[in-house]
Amino acid sequence: MEKEQIGALWQTILNEAELTMPRATFVTWFKPTEVIELDGETLRLAVNNIFAKNQFEKKFDSKIRKIMKDNGFTAPIVEYIIKGKKTTGSEESIKIDGMKAVKNTAKAKSNPTGLNPKYRFDNFVVGGCNDLAHAASQAAAAMPGKKYNPIFIYGNSGLGKTHLIQAIGNEVLEKFPDKSVLYVTAETFGNEYIDFVRFKKDRNFSSKYRGVDVLIIDDIQFIAGKTKTQEEFFNTFNSLHQTDKQIVISADRPPAEIPDLADRLKTRFQMGMTIDVGMPDYETRCAIINTKAQASGIELTPDIVDFLANNIQTNIRELEGALNQILAYCEMRRDTPTMDLAIGLIGNIRNSRPKHITAKQIIDKTANYFDLKADELKSPARNKHITEPRQIAMYLLRSELKMSFPNIARELGRSDHTTAIHSINKMELEIKLDSMRREQISTIRERLYV
């Protein structure tokens, strides 16, 4: 079974489980679980530890098997395997799983271009918002390095930048099989550079990047502020550009607006072609939905297409997610998509996080977490066991409700708003440095939305 289908099956199980149990139970047990593989009728799940394994075997096993039966399995078996277990485990099945997992990752890594063959020009939907970017990309792919160099494509997240730039790579490979193409995200580039400097690990780091015919860098904004990485990228860029190798770059904003980016890089990025990818208009959204649905072999009625296109307006990735959910559901049930189904499922996504939380709820839940009373948080007391929870409450008021500092101070009985500013800054720092603090805050936040 394909990986995506297993994912869809697991998603179906999760959806059903979520509906039949309290949210806290679902979050505690099901959320940290992952699918390892589906082998015939046997589904293997990775669980956190022996306690989770026990809970699944004794309490959830029949439920999961029933959902699988509803979805066309005749005699499903579910095996629960503890995550990160030593591969020297004595049970044979665990050994095999461990080895398989290693093999799979090795395979993924051995893809030398980094490209996903799924992204091609012919399945890219062109509309008013992206026709220029599409045309420029095609021109670059037809004559790599000759026409527009570099190509710089920018736009908000989820609008198809990655699709376009990978399509350039795939097209070049198809037309000129002897040319070498490399696709990396700026983050990967940065990490590899750091490894290279720190451990001298990847000795052919420079030759890897400077020896290609087409270099595609995704999300270049992530090298902002990293001086040394920028320097290395600058040298790579020059070396490629001088030998007329094609460079393709994507970012979430135009070069001039990327903060902490060296000026010499900014000017170089603007040398070739700088084009933006905009929000898709209604017609483009409809076309995208139809293309994707057809690719999965399912016909959608115009009213469903209209419903999706109208409900999810700003982000193609979200649109695809919603569509995939409907398609996966129908595939499982061997059903045809209906309007009711679409409303049921999509309505679901949109309302997953109720937004109406009050300041009182935040203070109460924080106090409750630390075994304190809300009044104690608001009291003048300055003992550490009270001040820390108070600071956390302030942080949550800011991060969840975007309250103003003076209001936050007032909510917690402080007269001075600088107290709130100090507390929130402190928490922001601690969240970065202290894993315990991070966990505390995420647990409280989780409870707020339970």
């Binding site: 306690f51 026990n54 004794k58």
Partner: protein
């Protein structure tokens, strides 16, 4: 459910089990305690999904039943009762607790929703004298890390090497290795340090031996009426043996109690530098000097007589050093180091079984 037992028994059992129940999780029922009455015994359990404690005590059971109630409330209520018989009765989803003139009714949650307590699946067993266990845990769990992003370091590595059982823990800055006793079977597991500390705390003074059962995923400890079951930490422990220095440039033997005093004094002047103090061994004068500076306040320098071979200086964290000195036994200790960057090895002069290593502070 209807159960009658003495206040002392119930209070003691609740005190052991109740401390595991915590309100600080996403699952609210985990702040409850699971109470089960059957055939002349009352079984109390609690878990935080990493450790579970089950306490079985004899009681007069008039009617079987099972329910969960808030641990902290029940624990504190029972602890404050006079020493009389306590009657627990379940009626209309409420647990009534009656003792003499005291009476409480406590709201309950369905036991069906309580997580399963893992059964004991002990493939292997090992028995360790209680005193030795306690000491080995104290010696090592002290240096285990609390950083959950590196799970392996939050545990104590319990394993057999060349016919001896070892406890080892490290947080990446220091390491403690305790050779516990000769043992021939193969063992290799990482037990959460928190679990071991819980077990140590529960071990009474009159317990002579502790029986530990373990399988690939879990470990359990049986102490009298109490059973503690815990997950094991997944993963492989770091290959630490190469870190223990075998040959060092400097060796110094000195009095432990005097050294503790010197380090404590020096620590007062090391607050600004996050506790870093400078230790210098001088073989000609047979002295070890401990020195610390606070730029705003002043400085401190103390000398202590020692048997020294080799000269050298090293900077280290005073808290780590005091932690270590608190664990080592005997009159004299031996400190060994080479240069400013290599690990510092500290042992008791006549104790070959406990090795403590501290990484220097890079200055």
């Amino acid at each position: 459910m209807k159960v009658i037992l003495t206040q002392e028994k119930l209070a003691k059992a609740l005190a052991i089990v109740g401390r595991i129940a915590s309100p600080r999780t996403t699952l609210p029922i985990l702040s409850n305690i699971l109470i089960k009455a059957e055939e002349n015994q009352l079984i109390l359990s609690a878990t935080n999904l990493e450790v579970a404690i089950t306490e079985t005590i004899s009681a007069k059971v008039e009617k079987n039943g099972v329910i969960t109630v808030p641990a902290k409330l029940l624990m504190e209520f029972v602890a404050n009762l006079p020493k009389v018989n306590v009657t627990l009765t379940l009626a209309d989803d409420k647990l009534s607790v009656v003792a003499g003139n005291y009476k409480s009714t406590i709201n309950t949650m369905d036991a069906e929703d309580y997580p399963e307590i893992p059964d004991i699946v002990a493939k292997n067993k090992i028995t360790i004298p209680a005193d030795l266990f306690k000491k080995s845990v104290a010696n090592t769990s002290l240096v285990a890390s609390s950083d959950t992003t590196r799970p392996v370091l939050t545990g104590v590595y319990i394993y057999v090497f060349e016919g001896d059982l070892y406890f080892v823990a490290t947080d990446g800055y220091r390491l403690a290795e305790k050779k516990v006793m000769p043992y021939s079977d193969e063992i290799s597991m990482i037990v959460p340090a928190a679990t071991l500390n819980d077990v140590s705390r529960i071990l009474g003074d009159d317990t002579k031996e502790i029986e530990i059962g373990f399988s690939d995923d879990q470990i359990s400890f049986e102490i009298d009426d109490t059973v503690i079951t815990s997950r094991l930490v997944s993963g492989n422990f770091i290959n630490y043996r190469q870190l223990i220095p075998t040959k060092t440039d400097v060796k110094a033997v000195l009095s432990r109690s005097e050294f503790v005093r010197v380090v404590k004094v020096s620590e007062l002047f090391a607050r600004e530098s996050a506790g870093s103090i400078v230790m210098t061994a001088d073989s000609k004068k047979s002295l070890v000097n401990v020195h610390s500076i606070v730029s705003q306040i002043g400085e401190n320098s103390n000398e202590i007589e020692a048997t020294v071979s080799g000269d050298g200086t090293v900077t280290l964290n005073s808290k780590f050093l005091l932690d270590c000195l608190g664990q080592i036994e005997g009159e004299n200790i031996k400190i060994q180091f080479s240069g400013k960057l290599a690990p510092i090895l500290i042992v008791g002069e006549n104790d070959k079984n406990y090795k403590h290593i501290i990484m220097p502070v890079k200055s």
